[in-house]
Symmetry: C2
Subunit: 428 residues, 2 copies
């Protein structure tokens, strides 16, 4: 046997294996769709208890991941996302309990009316079926995604980053134990560990068994899924979020908002990446902002005007515009007016989150009308585009797709709606 035909056999074997896994997920999804709210909540409460009881096991598995990733030279920001602590495991358990406490979307009647022809029509929420999520090395996503998909009546296939393989296995074991202890098929959750591209390609063709794929991560991951998926996709693309500080802004509070929108959680997708400053307030605002950023350890990269006003700023390169830094770096540019800010955002934004700080209703409205984003804010930080902050209870991520879901994806966004019609023996 030649090496190339042997490679083909291995690839074919893997493709059969992922098809088997997806078919089993489809089977399980039929049972999950019919579970009562009580049964689903029992699984979730059980999982929360196990997460707390077995925290040491999870942390030990995570230590192995972190050690291996550190040895392999994973950048610091990604190491941080990979790393679990006793507190973050407790937080996971709390998150699962919060999902259990949320209303069950399945079976909710979102509209009910009598049509002109006398039919009684209801629109009823139903599960999507099998949801696949592909994400990076953040072990907490494994538990969040399972809890939300399951509560919404779906089976899920989760493919986390390879650096988190031990952590995800430990977490998966707890979920499987909770499912089985409550009489639910363990195939309600499938974990995929390997990140072999052929296996991924094979999976992404299985639209017969998988109803939705949610890629959540950087440009390359999104591009790969986009290129190869036949499964409907809701993308959670990077957040290149801007704040425009208008001429009428309250400068001190604008400094607070811009600084915390970066420094409070620089690696999140709703953190601000670039501040656009109206030229008439630049001389007053930029030095204040620069001083606060410096105090918070944020590196400022500015255009020539900004660098003139803040001598410690670094000159921004062209590729700093439209860039998701994911660290304590903020770009800053001076613009002529709200239209120039809108034009900059149209060119460099990623449809994620955009904010205007302004006391002028005309500028506010113009910004709201012209800027495309899943969330547009007036006089508030970009970091409020978040499922908890907006009152959805929990979220699986923030969609930058307009189709199906736009913005934070909570339980409702993990369902579909079907028509249920009751007649009185009407013909047509």
């Amino acid at each position: 046997m030649t090496s190339s035909s042997s490679n083909r056999d291995v690839a074919a074997g893997r493709s059969v294996a992922v098809e088997h896994l997806a078919r089993q997920a489809r089977e399980a999804s039929r049972a999950v769709a019919r579970l009562s709210t009580e049964s689903k909540n029992a699984v979730l409460m059980d999982l929360a208890a196990r997460l707390e009881q077995d925290a040491a096991v999870i942390l030990k598995a995570n230590e192995r991941d972190v050690a291996a990733a550190g040895a392999a030279g994973l950048p610091e920001a990604r190491l941080q996302r990979l790393c679990l602590t006793a507190a973050s495991v407790r937080q996971m358990a709390e998150g699962v309990r919060q999902v259990a406490a949320l209303d069950d979307p399945v079976g909710q009647v979102t509209r009910q009316y009598q049509a002109a022809n006398g039919l009684s029509v209801a629109k009823v929420r139903c599960p999507l079926g099998v949801v696949m999520m592909i994400y990076e090395a953040r072990p907490n996503v494994t538990i969040d995604a399972f809890a939300l998909c399951f509560k919404a009546g779906n089976a899920c296939i989760l493919k986390g980053g390879r650096e988190a393989i031990e952590s995800n296995r430990a977490l998966g074991s707890l979920a499987w134990a909770a499912l089985e202890a409550n009489g639910v098929a363990r195939e309600a959750l499938s974990l995929l560990a390997a990140s072999d591209r052929d296996e991924m390609k094979a999976l992404l063709r299985l639209d017969a068994y998988i109803d939705l794929v949610i890629p959540r991560g950087g440009v390359e991951l999104l591009r790969f899924v986009h290129e190869h998926s036949r499964i409907p996709m809701v993308q959670h693309f990077q957040g290149v979020c801007h704040i425009f500080v208008d001429v009428s802004a309250d400068l001190d509070r604008a400094v607070d908002i811009c600084t915390s929108a970066k420094a409070s959680a620089p690696a999140t997708c709703n953190a601000v990446e670039a501040v656009l400053v109206h030229e008439q307030i630049a001389a007053a605002f930029v030095p204040k902002l620069a001083a606060r950023l410096k105090a918070e350890g944020v590196e400022l990269r500015g255009d020539s005007v900004v660098c003139g006003l803040a001598p410690k700023a670094i000159a921004a390169r062209e590729d700093d515009w439209g860039r998701e830094f994911l660290e304590l770096v903020l770009a800053c540019k001076v613009v002529g007016d709200v239209d120039a800010a809108i034009a900059h955002i149209r060119r460099y934004g990623s449809n994620h989150t955009e904010a205007i700080l302004s006391n002028d209703p005309t500028s506010q409205q113009r910004f709201l009308d012209e800027v495309q984003a899943s969330c547009t804010l007036v006089n508030a930080s970009t970091r409020f585009n978040d499922g908890f902050q907006l009152g959805l209870g929990a979220e699986i991520g923030i969609s930058t797709s307009k189709v199906h879901a736009y913005g934070p994806m909570g339980l409702e966004e993990l369902t579909s709606q079907r028509y249920v019609v009751r007649g009185n023996w009407q013909s047509r």
Copy 2:
């Protein structure tokens, strides 16, 4: 120049041309998104008037299409769908006026609340952007799709069947005239005539400019789009619709419903394709149904039990189950109980429309809970799964995808929803 390199040049030229077209549609979509309701309605009322004034021009163009398609041997059912009459052109105009009369979805606030953090949050309907629809040779779809996409604030790219090319050009000219007379860019509507596969493939990769593609047609079209599209897709797949006649059904009214659900419009996607009959009433029901079908000119294809009870029935072949006949042919099978009916539908249905005729609440509920379809009906014809009948006002087709829209797609389903948040200078 060799012939192959010349072919490549032609293909490259076409690919540049479709990209140019899509980019212009994207530009136009920004303007359409901002049009007032009054401006959109003015265009639609103008178009309706032009359709009536220029009916003769449209009918003449359509005659050329029908003559060419007849000469090329197009099957009768497809010829009928291609053919326009004075009445059907009047109906198109009426349909456009009805769309003008519908509420504008753009800017509608679907939820408004104050979040726990004090932010004022609104979910606001927004256009999708550029919608592409690919359909077969039904010229009326050209006008329906343009009217709905435009009223929902979208630019559209329409690709109808090649047999309807002259009709679609005549209809498109009226729409362009109505747009230009009202100061709207004609690129709000693009028509693609050729059905060259390379051109289609090039278009289906333009997700940078096109937000949604809606293929509406048979298996091959759907498969092609599915295979090649990078653009989010809502598929309008064939309707393999079933009616299950339960043991407790009112037999005479069941005969009425089953017969009209096929005979009233056999070529529509919500027509019934197969009737499943509970074995305990088969002897009473099947002969009655067979007699009525015969009177209406419907061919009956049955399993062996049906053929025993209705001697004129033709023995169904395996591939008659799960088949969309699109003509006066109905399959019929006897099943043991509601579970057997559900199992048959799970195997052969297309997630479109399924109905149960029964006076037993337990069977009804079991059917509603277990059958997957965009619309499930109790004691009514499958043909009620229709945007007008269900009170949506108008529809662009019936989605069999669960993601984004499931069931009739009206104005709302041609929009997305974004968050608009107003704060009081909150940091985070």
